[in-house]
Symmetry: C2
Subunit: 362 residues, 2 copies
Amino acid sequence: MSRVYNFSAGPAMLPLEVLEEAREDLLDYKGSGMSVMEMSHRGKVFDGIIRKAEADFRKLVGVPDDYAVLFLQGGGWTQFAEVPMNLTKNGTAAYIVTGNWARNAAKEAQKYTKVVRVASSEDQNFSYIPDCSDLDIPEDADYVYICENNTIYGTEYFQLPNTKGHVLVADVSSNFLSRPIDVKKYGLFFGGVQKNVGPAGVTIVCVRKDLINPDLPDYVPTMMRYQTQIDKDSLFNTPPAWGIYVCGLTFQWLLKQGGLAEIAKKNEAKAKLFYDTLDESKLFKGTVRRQDRSLMNAPFVTGDKDLDAEFIKEAAAQGLESLKGHRSVGGMRASLYNAMPYEGVVKLTNFMKEFEAHHSAV
Amino acid sequence: MSRVYNFSAGPAMLPLEVLEEAREDLLDYKGSGMSVMEMSHRGKVFDGIIRKAEADFRKLVGVPDDYAVLFLQGGGWTQFAEVPMNLTKNGTAAYIVTGNWARNAAKEAQKYTKVVRVASSEDQNFSYIPDCSDLDIPEDADYVYICENNTIYGTEYFQLPNTKGHVLVADVSSNFLSRPIDVKKYGLFFGGVQKNVGPAGVTIVCVRKDLINPDLPDYVPTMMRYQTQIDKDSLFNTPPAWGIYVCGLTFQWLLKQGGLAEIAKKNEAKAKLFYDTLDESKLFKGTVRRQDRSLMNAPFVTGDKDLDAEFIKEAAAQGLESLKGHRSVGGMRASLYNAMPYEGVVKLTNFMKEFEAHHSAV
């Protein structure tokens, strides 16, 4: 067996310890005689798994009691509809558009509320985070929406917008659990787990319960009402049990190493190594304004498409996988999520230097 | 390791060979250096997995080209809304109510269409399938809806309703892939996979493409439009990749042993052993009209709640797990899905005889 360093933007690497534990218990979870994939979601064993996962998540992130933590299905796109469906009261929402996902979220929300785009960085291909210190937010806005880390463009908010007293909603799919957050600053945040937490098919929603409109329009499906799942502790119907279990293993892995403050240090160290290498390079260039560079997703280019392709191909041959950039930016993208070891970034940056030396010499 | 015989109604047993293969490849899928839980859903390796899963499903079930096969999220409850959202044209639908799930589906559908309940077995606690040979189906009905196997009550349709030319829609979650079906008799069928196919978190929808209303109301979320997923071959957003992979292993397991005709023989043999034992017993009684007995879920009672509880407890001590019945019926329920080996039913029926002998002697 030879594991690669997988720089995919998601689904992405999971911690080796998590995978090993999942494998160890795959046929027989802790003497239950069953796989987690086989057990009733109404039984004691699975109840222990999901309740511990929720408790560990609350501990890890610091979730106050007036927030619900939900394990749902359907990914970000489902939340793009569920957020406006459930939080709309006045009928206006403010969206800050910093990439494809925020743009899609705003478009989907228009089915359910009036959407005001209060800021955007589309003018420069989303290569920066706009100044959000003094936005013109409608007074009756039910919430202000951001995508906190932009997987495709490689930007990240390091300061949350000044919402002027309005509730903040954040899609945190691609910087989920990568650093400590202050939950009280959010009314709701959600993340698909498949980048930084667990296997695709689980979406975690953390929502301040009093924000949910208790009187939703009839057309809102039962499954898309947060209250449905709150009332049943995420067990309204059969949940994605295996995915929740693996997320729980990741929570334990994070707690064991000291929680989000510790993983943040490691992520900073990896990002520093990568961006220092980039800044010292004469061949490779970043595509993002320096102060907005994501710690999770780092796009970079040589400026020569053939050379980019050559780099990606040679890297893959060395076990540095999935470095191809998104078509909207081109070039390369290195995703440096929690589970990417420092050694992976060392190997990548060394390879970048070798590649540069080789291609300068030619 | 000691595996139990798990008679849970779902999630339920998976074939041991499927679990073993999933474990074998968990850290490194076929030399890719990654787990299936870690790989990009846009990459070649996962594309191979999902396309093979779809091809194998089509082969196994005999799906004609004018039907789409979709791998979705959200379970039956999501389909309870998606079916009327997508198939409503005239604005009327006929529902046959044979249990909780059909009842819930009908109630959810009322958000989107006029629902006419054309038959029901609620008068006798859903213990039979009503005569559906000459129902009063509204002429403008967009479809006739059934739940083909009723997990809770243990009834199953062995003859499909006479829909009088209307399209048939079936929830097949709990008899999915348990016997051959004639796809052309259905306009749409769907199943949560967590009973007979794979891990919870995947719903397979098979729909005749021309039935989908191309002009849906604005409020239908992008994610709940079948066309969204048809256009992208189930890859509109990140799919529940691990679950789809395990379903694919089950499809291969079924094909290897001769397909649905072969598994049907095995399921008939298991059900015959169980029901023969039940019919010979003086202690245990079935709760379902004989000709409607499900081959998948067999509820039974002693008529004495304490004795039922004692049976369930003693059975569990012998590795016969999750035999407790649903609260709507009480007593016991043995679910005999595809992955339950014949030996499991032998062990259960032997234990029933021993228990009866012991408790008659006392």
